[in-house]
């Protein structure tokens, strides 16, 4: 899929909001990531000018932290927990199953842009291990055999 990695918008209000506060770069990037789902290059360039921070610093930061992405996410983000509890209770199998079914690797998005697969560390529901989350909806005690069903719900919805 041709992905749109450019997005425009004015982020000066964000910069204004953080103007007099120290240590704001990561906080601003959070707001941008939350808004666009990723950090578009044009926005980074704009931010670099407004904050008087070199673009290289912004990219160093974006590519260092897992939370920030340079590419737009899929419509549904599947986050499979690979925290300790989930790992011990079979989460790796769930990841394998999703990879097989969707034909993507961790951190990738399906060709149709529908699903994006991430692994995360502990969603804080260890009691329900293994856990996966699709756009905020938690699925607990997931069995490998249930994955097909869960995914097909989103395919249908689409």
């Amino acid at each position: 899929m041709e992905q749109n990695t450019t997005a425009t918008g004015d982020v000066s209000f964000l910069v204004e909001k953080w103007r007099d506060k120290k240590g704001s770069l990561i906080m601003i990037l959070h707001e941008i990531q939350n808004h666009y789902g990723f950090v578009p290059r044009d926005i980074s360039l704009q931010l670099s000018k407004l904050l008087d921070v070199p673009l290289a610093r912004i990219y160093e930061v974006i590519t260092f932290y897992n939370y920030f992405k340079l590419d737009p996410p899929g419509k549904y983000t599947i986050s499979v927990c690979l925290g300790t509890a989930c790992y011990l209770k079979g989460a790796p199998e769930i990841v394998d199953e999703i990879k097989n079914l969707l034909n993507i690797e961790e951190g990738q998005t399906t060709e149709d842009g529908l699903f994006h697969l991430d692994v995360v560390r502990c969603l804080g529901c260890c009691g329900l291990a293994p856990v996966m989350m699709i756009n905020g909806q938690i699925y607990g005690k997931v069995k490998r055999s249930e994955v097909v069903d869960i995914l097909s719900r989103y395919k249908k919805e689409d």
């Binding site: 290289a56 990219y59 160093e60």
Partner: protein, 582 residues
């Protein structure tokens, strides 16, 4: 003072001295890889570890200050074993390509592997699959060979304030790159100064080797080959042949170049004298006629020009429009000289040997670089490349006898030779400008104020009742201070803090250029600089405008400084350039 023990030997050193430095004082060499004597430690390789008696942790010698009563062991079988493992680990992510590498023979990693006698590697090799970046034509980035020491990033961000290079991603995937996926160096703010290549311990960044083009031209019987060497080359190239830094090999290089087959051997210093005459005239003109166009800023450093065009395009008007010395020699070779000697400039090949990677870019920078009707300078190579060519040509530089340069573009003044060191352009220009304005000679031609390795140097010279205020900055991170002062004064409508500003991109000026022999330190900068100042001191001619051949040039060809002809051939223009093209 701190008193401590290293391998049982007592050391007394000032507070803040690192273990590494303290050990050096007692002739103990702790191996290092990421630490460059010129740069603050990045603490990233882990080779320099030492033991603190009584603790089971090991300390990094390069960045740990020695403390009172520390008892340090620098070498024992366990430490050596750990170091060896770390080297093997580094090599497991590094291609075994020494034979075809830009750093073969002077690579810090190769040397370490040699010293530790690494014969086999226990570990599987994992090589990142990143193609080299040759986009600038000046330096080549080969991230596969990068050991993530961080020196280039420190240099480019801190010393040069360009921020073309940064670390991207993390962990095993950490790599150096311009900001953005698929953004090449030429699309980045890189100003091609090559400081990264001069500081990289490995072949991950090195000068684009253009020597093949030179050999090809030399082989072609129909091509008239001319060559020129920059001031800073003469006092540094010796290091590649075992001379001490600062040793002046000018006349040996002339001889070597002739043996290599060059038909004419010129000196960039001649161009420097012309630059001074033009630039000083420009200064006098602005100083007396158009003071609103002050300060005048020097433009002989292409990295500085590139920096201005990207980051301070509002200063365009303040730049001297004068070309840099090697470009002047280039255009004069293909016009003035060619005409005199009845050589068809179409068959001429002009090489410039520079301390600089950026000159490789400058020779095609704009239309004005073709003002002879041809590309004025065909190829520019660095000191390091020339040293290799001399070796390839089988020339014994130690024993070769000295020779003189060719007329007409060879003779130079002492003012020209100090172009190669920070403050030199300013000093040379002031000598001439003073004469132009006052019609008299300066009492003391040597301006101590603008000499030395301090990042920003300021001075004031009384001229006909006025005070000419000057500033000299070198290392691009130092220009902001100077420019801010000017911009603030202008904004506030106050008196200018400076009338004349010299900037050189490389710390120390060209003697510390990105294409100079490896291992630069402030100590070496000083020695190379002294080499040039000595030459100036011993020159009979101390003023550019008194160079008889320069005078002749104007009489026969250019008319006078800033004439139409000289504008056409010797001057250039500036444009605003985007920091990022992507």
């Amino acid at each position: 003072m701190v008193k401590a023990k290293i391998n049982g030997i007592t050391v007394n050193v000032p507070e803040g001295t690192t273990i590494l430095e303290a050990a050096e004082k007692v002739q103990i060499k702790i191996p290092t890889l990421c630490k460059h004597p010129d740069l603050p430690p990045t603490a990233s390789c882990g080779i320099c570890i030492v033991k603190l008696v009584g603790s089971n942790k090991m300390l990094r010698a390069c960045c740990t200050p020695i403390e009172e009563n520390m008892d340090i062991i620098t070498h024992d079988p366990e430490i050596v074993e750990v170091r060896r493992t770390v080297i093997e680990l580094i090599l497991s992510k590094h291609p075994n390509e020494c034979l075809t590498c830009g750093r073969n023979g002077n690579c810090e990693l190769q040397k370490l592997a040699e010293e530790f006698g690494i014969r086999t590697s226990a570990f599987q090799q994992f090589l990142p699959d990143i193609p080299p970046d040759t986009s600038t034509g000046t330096i080549v980035l080969e991230p596969r060979k990068c050991i993530s020491c961080g020196r280039c990033v420190t240099v480019c961000q801190q010393n040069q304030n360009v921020w073309a290079l940064c670390f991207m991603d993390r962990g095993f995937g950490t790599r150096i790159s311009p900001a953005g996926d698929g953004v090449s160096l030429s699309e980045s703010p890189c100003v091609k100064c090559g400081q990264c290549s001069a500081h990289c311990p490995t072949g991950a960044i090195f000068e684009n080797d253009d020597t093949a083009k030179v050999w090809k031209a030399l082989q072609d019987k129909d091509t008239y080959c001319a060559v020129q060497i920059a001031p800073a080359v003469r006092v540094a190239i010796g290091e590649a042949f075992g001379y001490k830094p600062g040793a002046n090999l000018t006349k040996k290089i002339y001889a070597a170049l002739r043996r290599m087959g060059f038909n004419a051997v010129f000196d960039t210093n001649f161009g420097a004298d012309v630059t001074i005459v033009e630039e000083a005239s420009e200064f006098v003109q602005r100083f007396t006629e158009t003071p609103e166009k002050l300060p005048l800023i020097t433009s002989c450093c292409p990295s500085w020009v590139d920096f201005m065009e990207k980051f301070h395009p509002d200063m365009k008007e303040n730049f001297s429009s004068c070309k840099s010395p090697h470009a002047i020699v280039g255009v004069l070779a293909k016009t003035f000289f060619a005409k005199k000697r009845r050589i068809d400039p179409a068959n001429m090949f002009v090489l410039s040997v520079m301390p600089c990677t950026s000159k490789k870019y400058e020779i095609t920078r704009s239309d004005e670089m073709y003002s002879s009707g041809y590309q004025d300078v065909d190829v520019s190579i660095t000191t390091r490349e020339l040293a290799r060519m001399i070796k390839q040509a089988g020339i014994n530089i130690n024993d070769i006898s000295e020779e003189e340069p060719d007329h007409v573009l060879g003779e130079y003044s002492g003012a020209a030779t100090i172009f190669g060191v920070t403050g030199g352009v300013m000093e040379a220009a002031l000598r001439t400008a003073y004469d132009y304005i006052t019609g008299g000679k300066l009492k003391n031609v040597e301006f101590e104020n603008v000499r030395g390795i301090e990042g920003v140097k300021e001075g004031a010279i009384p001229v006909n009742g006025f005070t000419v205020k000057v500033a000299v900055a070198h290392g691009l991170s130092n220009v902001e201070y100077v420019l801010n002062k000017v911009k603030e004064a202008k904004r506030a409508g106050k008196e200018l803090p400076y009338h004349f500003i010299e900037v050189m991109a490389c710390p120390g000026g060209c003697i510390g250029g990105g294409g100079q022999p490896y291992g630069i330190t402030d100590e070496i900068r000083k020695k190379r600089g002294e080499g040039l100042y000595d030459e100036d001191h011993n020159c009979k001619l101390r003023y550019s405008h008194e160079n008889p051949f320069v005078k002749k040039l104007y009489e026969e060809f250019l008319d006078k400084p800033l004439s139409e002809q000289s504008h056409h051939l010797l001057h250039t223009t500036y444009v605003k350039r985007p920091e990022y093209q992507k």
